[in-house]
């Protein structure tokens, strides 16, 4: 299918034998005033995979998703979903994509059942079938008991589940999940992960955003790391983690003045550079294997560098970021506090 054909409004919509990527973006841009929230992002999401967009607050994750979901206009670049141009055929895109936002987008004035009924009827599902679908989804998401209670009495986790259920009414082939587990307790989070895996087993493609490397690791087949509206890395979660080591040795030196000596020791033992934290006397050392920590500690003792605290942790998003961008997740002053991610 040629590019020109796709770009024409009302052009041929028939896909090229189902081989089109679920999502393809080229140089996607969104600006809010002088701020480039999304600054030329290229993505390819294959049908049937879970694709994670990883990044801190204000990185442009939500904005990217909202452009793909036709909720925001695309300022520059292009986006296709299953080979259909997003900007030219918004109504078609809305039939192919289910969106679950960061904040539950369900109606506070209605009960859970009424919500599902409303969204079914709006999408042209006949009344008896809408009733059946509502009952089915309520069962599937463990909301039968709360089905006829007002949403105002729902917990955060219940709202999220209802929100996801509402996105699945027509079983869209592509589902966008914007930070699906932010603010959920660990148990509810695990349930949400199982549900998301189930979607893919049913044949859906999932594009999700997350702030947690852990979540991307658990769920995603492939991950793109976004920062300041740009893609800084892409690969499988394993590839990303290898970039920062499988675990991290966190050291706090008793004497901040001994940092250069400690760096020298790490360099000698591991042949790699430790990452200096802005906090005085703190070093993060990427390790391929956790037991290399002992080698580093022994060498430090031998060199006479005293340590006030030590821990070995899995690499966090912060470290992935530090390794990929050379700055921490928290220091982007332009994006994080601006409200553009929310609306």
């Amino acid at each position: 299918m040629s590019i020109t054909e796709l770009g024409r409004p009302g052009g041929d919509l028939s896909p090229g034998g189902g081989t089109d990527p679920a999502v393809r973006t080229e140089g996607l841009v969104k600006t809010f005033g002088a701020h480039r929230a999304v600054d030329g992002i290229d993505l390819v999401v294959r049908p049937g995979e879970i694709f994670g967009v990883l990044g801190p607050n204000g990185a442009g994750k939500t904005t990217t998703l909202r452009m793909l979901a036709t909720l925001l206009t695309i300022d520059a670049g292009r986006a296709e979903i299953f080979g259909v141009d997003v900007a030219a055929n918004p109504h078609v895109i809305r039939q192919l994509v289910g969106v679950t936002g960061q904040y539950a987008s369900v109606d506070e004035n209605l009960t859970a059942r009424e919500n599902l009924w409303l969204f079914s009827r709006l999408q042209g599902i006949a009344a008896p079938r809408a009733r059946r679908i509502a009952t089915e989804l309520l069962g599937q998401f463990g909301l039968e008991k709360a089905a006829d209670k007002p949403i105002a009495q729902f917990s955060g986790g219940m709202r999220r589940r209802l929100d996801l259920a509402a996105s699945l009414i027509t079983m869209p082939p592509l589902i966008f999940l914007d930070e699906p587990t932010t603010g959920l307790d660990p148990r509810t989070r695990g349930q949400m992960w199982d549900t998301i895996r189930g979607l893919v087993a049913d044949g859906c493609t999932v594009l999700l955003t997350t702030q947690y490397l852990d979540e991307a690791d658990q769920l995603a087949d492939r991950v793109a790391v976004i920062d300041h509206g740009r893609k800084v890395a892409e690969g499988t979660p394993d590839e990303l983690k290898t970039a920062v080591g499988n675990s991290t040795l966190q050291l706090l030196l008793a004497e901040p003045g001994e940092v250069p000596a400690a760096v020298e020791v790490v360099r000698r033992v591991l042949g790699s550079e430790p990452v200096l934290s802005p906090e005085q006397g703190r070093l993060n050392v990427a390790l391929d294997q956790a037991d290399l920590a002992a080698d580093v500690l022994i060498a430090l003792r031998t060199a006479g560098v005293s340590i006030s605290s030590v821990s070995v942790a899995k690499p966090s998003l912060d470290e992935v970021f530090l390794a990929l961008t050379g700055h921490e997740t928290g220091d982007d002053e332009t994006g994080a506090s601006g409200g553009e991610e929310d609306r």
């Binding site: 936002g101 009424e114 709006l122 082939p173 499988t236």
Partner: protein, 278 residues
């Protein structure tokens, strides 16, 4: 690198979904979606009955207040002021009610559910038009209460039941049409308070610079000129003719024309700014 190969069944299904996707919303679908949205708005009204306070209280309070305060000055006594005033109050009540349409839409749009409405393959006008259809109920309540209060105070409309019903119907129709202007304000303003403020500024000149409460002849020439072209004056005159004389005057046509113009201008503007918003 885990390469996920989509199962053939899925590839076919997705292809079918893309092929089966409709390009645009048909008129029938738009109507159905609007009615579904109206169902939602009615549910919301039932669960927040305080929304009816202004609709219920205003006609009762204003009818009593205006009659006793202005009655003697304008018409000599309260009883002879009522035929002049009740249709005026009717217009004023209905306009105030349609101002609430804009404020409530604004409040509603700030909630997460509007995000979902925008992401669904539905007509863009449905989330705006749905609540307006449900609001017909509020206009009907407001208009009925106005006449009810008038009857209690001794108003005996000469137009009979048919005339009064005609006046109520015309008022409802006008309220619904003008509500599009407030809906537009609702989609462009930054907050519900702003909508309220802007709407008041539109509403007060429209209702008070009309013949709703006084005769045009008593006004200075330059003001009378504005009052004569004010659509609210046409509505009030038409409603007076209907309620008091059962007369279907040319004013009805002027009122309906003003309604059509309001819809033709503000409905497309509302949809356009709703699409851009957020």
């Amino acid at each position: 690198m885990s390469t996920v190969v989509a199962p053939a069944r899925e590839a076919v299904r997705t292809a079918d979904r893309v092929a089966a996707a409709r390009r645009r919303v048909s008129l029938g679908e738009t109507l159905g979606q609007t009615l579904t949205m109206a169902w939602r708005a009615l549910k919301k009204m039932r669960r927040n009955p305080e929304q009816f306070f202004d609709v219920a209280l205003q006609p009762i309070l204003f009818t009593a207040m205006f009659a006793f305060v202005f009655g003697g000055a304008v018409a000599g006594d309260v009883a002879s002021y009522l035929p002049l005033m009740i249709p005026g109050i009717l217009a004023q009540t209905v306009l105030t009610t349609c101002m609430a349409t804009g404020t409530q839409l604004r409040e509603d749009m700030e909630k997460g559910v509007f995000d979902r409405f925008k992401s669904l393959p539905i007509a863009r006008i449905a989330p705006l038009a749905g609540p307006m259809v449900a609001d017909l109920l509020r206009y009907a309540i407001a208009a009925t209460l106005t006449f009810g209060m008038g009857l209690v105070m001794g108003y005996r409309p000469g137009g009979g039941v048919g005339g009064v019903l005609g006046a109520i119907l015309l008022a409802i129709c006008t309220g619904w049409s003008l509500a599009w202007a407030f809906t537009w304000v609702g989609t462009i303003a930054r907050s519900a308070q702003a909508v309220q403020g802007i709407s008041m500024m539109i509403l007060f000149p429209l209702t008070f610079l009309s013949n709703a409460f006084v005769r045009v002849e008593t006004l200075p020439g330059w003001l009378a000129a504005f009052v004569r072209v004010n659509p609210v004056s046409h509505l009030v005159t038409a409603a007076r003719d209907l309620a008091n004389k059962a007369l279907l005057s040319g004013e009805v046509a002027w009122t309906l024309l003003a309604c059509l113009i309001a819809i033709a201008i503000f409905a497309p503007l509302s949809v356009r700014s709703y699409k851009r918003h957020m």
